[in-house]
């Protein structure tokens, strides 16, 4: 059973609009949450993270929101740019020295 679910395999957004990518997790023990971005033929690159003591973390155009009661996190990109087109993975772990658990990814296409 998947511990981390990204239910939208793909998302298409117009340039300048907001992109919202969603991620749900099952285990309330997870206390650290990350988003990675992946371009074709490249490895994933770290984008932004949040710990369970916060509900929001912002870095430029990227904001991650955490709703612990719903076991849900989301990544907001605003304004979206064509260069944001990539696959976005959410990843979670709990700080007891455990592996990162990744979702299956959401392919974002930003249309100019």
């Amino acid at each position: 059973d998947q511990q981390v679910k990204q239910n939208s395999p793909s998302l298409s957004v117009q340039e300048g609009r907001i992109s919202i990518l969603n991620c749900d997790y099952t285990n309330s023990m997870f206390d650290y949450f990350l988003w990675y971005k992946k371009y074709p033929a490249e490895g994933p690159t770290f984008l932004i993270s949040i710990s369970s003591i916060k509900d929001k973390n912002e870095d430029g155009r990227f904001t991650v929101f955490l709703n612990k009661s719903a076991k849900h996190l989301s990544l907001h990109i605003v304004p979206s740019q064509p260069g944001d087109s990539a696959v976005y993975f959410c990843a979670v772990y709990f700080s007891g020295n455990t592996p990162l658990v990744f979702g299956k990814g959401t392919r974002l296409s930003v249309i100019a």
Binding site: Y36, T98, P99
Partner: protein, 114 residues
């Protein structure tokens, strides 16, 4: 500076053959990780090295899979008697200290077993 490199970038092999995949982590990074991504799936953890030892091998799917790391640097993932279900992109990552740190990924090796 140089990032994580992996070789080969692509490997096609016949079912039943052995393959070796190589990872060169970022210099000075003590932690190294192997993942694989099968078609339509997320990244699946395989093994974690701290220095030359592997405190977590829990993700290796079968005893056909093994990995080693030498000199606290280069790592090799070996798959014996490859099967078609082993076809995937194998990704290596490294981090400075350990699991709490940001992981830097290599570009991956695409393995196709025919």
């Amino acid at each position: 500076g140089a990032g994580v490199s992996q070789s080969p970038s692509n490997k096609v092999t016949e079912k039943g053959k052995d393959v070796e995949l190589r990872c060169d982590p970022i210099s000075g990074h003590t932690a190294l990780y192997w993942y694989r991504q099968s078609l339509g799936q997320g990244l699946e953890f395989l093994i974690y090295f701290q220095g030359n030892s592997a405190p977590d091998k829990s993700g290796l799917p079968s005893d056909r899979f093994s990995a080693e790391r030498t000199g606290g640097s280069v790592s090799t993932l070996t798959i014996q008697r490859t099967q078609q279900e082993d076809s995937a992109v194998y990704l290596c990552a490294s981090s400075f200290y350990g699991r709490g740190d940001e992981q830097y990924f290599g570009p991956g090796t695409r393995l196709t077993v025919t």
